[in-house]
Symmetry: C2
Subunit: 270 residues, 2 copies
């Protein structure tokens, strides 16, 4: 079914706005919720975030690492969570940051984008291996109307250890954005991940570099950037930014999640 | 238990040599073996490769993507395979190419290096997010005597789309290798992945860049590099190279795997 994030983005924004709620069942988060640090606890945590997200937002982003740490049982919980979130009308971004070459990348693309137990509406990938190596994901995303978000400028303090490297004067984030623009050709098949904490210029990016690209933007909330500043940070690219908040929603505890999400929506002016 | 690849490398080389056999249950490989393209088929394939590897080699490398494409069932097969391979005395490199920041990287490190259902003797990681962001994996590897192989120069034809980027005149592979040397400090906690297909110079590397580092080297066999050329390719770094072969072992079919491995060992001069 062609129902991925790419083909649904405009209608999601029209009905619920662009906010994305992250699902990060870390050991600390499970403890704060009074849940066991197990695959079952991670599923219960995820279900609570999904319940608070409907109908406030249209997009959720499970962080795969926090499920993978429980092995197959954790991935089983993630399958259930993805299925339930999509059944509830949410678009699911699998934040997996996969990246490999050739038929191996094809394996990852099939895992997360093809019809199967982990099928999601979007996937994050990592481009160190080269942009064209990620083509199997782009191809499958095209088939399913999904979006592949390529890591471009990350939100961590040591991001520039590699990302400040340049090719012909352009820093890696600008190089990745250029490849993404060329491959997406104005569609929403290929997007980029640009952290909101550093500012575009500090990452070697301009607003023009991001022209037409769907942008997944972590770094809001607990990581430091304010949703109220989204236009200042992303300028002309703002209308295609999916701001993502995780800990700032769940840190206030189970009962307060709806209020935390509503507060973030107000910060966005929604 | 401190029994990872780092603390065992010297004894593995002394007893079996450095050759690593990849376990890549792609759809094409399963079909060639007459196995179903399912999680069960992937486990049977993996068991056959493990059986042919003992006692010929000391290291196997399951490619996680080919298990992940079956979701939790595939990861369950991988758990079984890793456990059986380690019980049989093999060191297991989980070829997962994970890479994320902060507590998310901690989740991946725990999944693959801590005591648990997927615990392996080594893990491959991807550095686009920054080298220090991978520290949770290095820390856990230290605790368990394991090795974290950081993607440095990959073996695909489009690798240089990003990897030719430079910082102060050094290409990304040389930058990654420098970080790895600093962090490993002469131990085998941190290694690098350097594909054998392109040659060091073409990747912006010198033998000195790799001084003292454990090197996982895919690209031999089906991808084009010959094991007989390993000294020509890696020069003074050759004694710490783990050459990896996958399709060239399994493409000849189930019954021929022992002979294929023996042929590769002869090419290495073992």
């Amino acid at each position: 079914m062609v129902t991925g994030l790419g083909v649904r983005f405009d209608s999601i924004v029209a009905s619920a706005g662009p906010l994305c709620v992250g699902i990060d069942p870390s050991a600390a988060a499970l403890q704060a919720f009074g849940l066991p640090d197990t695959a079952e606890g991670a599923l219960e945590f995820g279900r609570a975030v999904v319940a608070a997200s409907i109908p406030r937002v249209g997009i959720v982003k499970p962080q795969v690492a926090y499920f993978e740490r429980f092995g197959s049982a954790g991935i089983g919980s993630l399958e259930t969570l993805i299925r339930e979130a999509r059944s509830g009308g949410l678009a699911v971004i699998a934040d997996a940051k996969r990246g490999d070459i050739g038929s191996t990348m094809d394996g990852y693309a099939n895992a997360w984008l093809a019809s199967g137990p982990l099928q999601s509406d979007a996937l994050t990938v990592s481009p160190y291996v080269g942009f064209d190596a990620l083509e199997p994901a782009f191809s499958l995303a095209t088939n399913y109307g999904a979006t592949v978000f390529v890591l471009c400028a990350t939100s961590n303090t040591n991001a520039d250890q590699l990302q400040r490297a340049t090719i012909a004067g352009a820093a890696l984030p600008a190089v990745v954005a250029r490849f993404a623009r060329e491959r997406s050709g104005g569609t929403m098949t290929v997007g980029v991940v640009v952290g909101a904490t550093r500012g575009l210029a500090d990452s070697g990016l301009t607003e023009a570099d991001l022209d037409g690209l769907l942008i997944l933007a972590p770094g809001f909330g607990a990581q430091g950037a304010s949703l109220a500043d989204i236009s200042r940070i992303f300028g002309t690219a703002t209308s295609r930014v999916i701001p993502s908040v995780s800990r700032s929603v769940t840190n206030d505890g189970l009962a307060n999640m709806p209020r935390s999400i509503d507060r973030h929506l107000r910060e966005l002016g929604l």
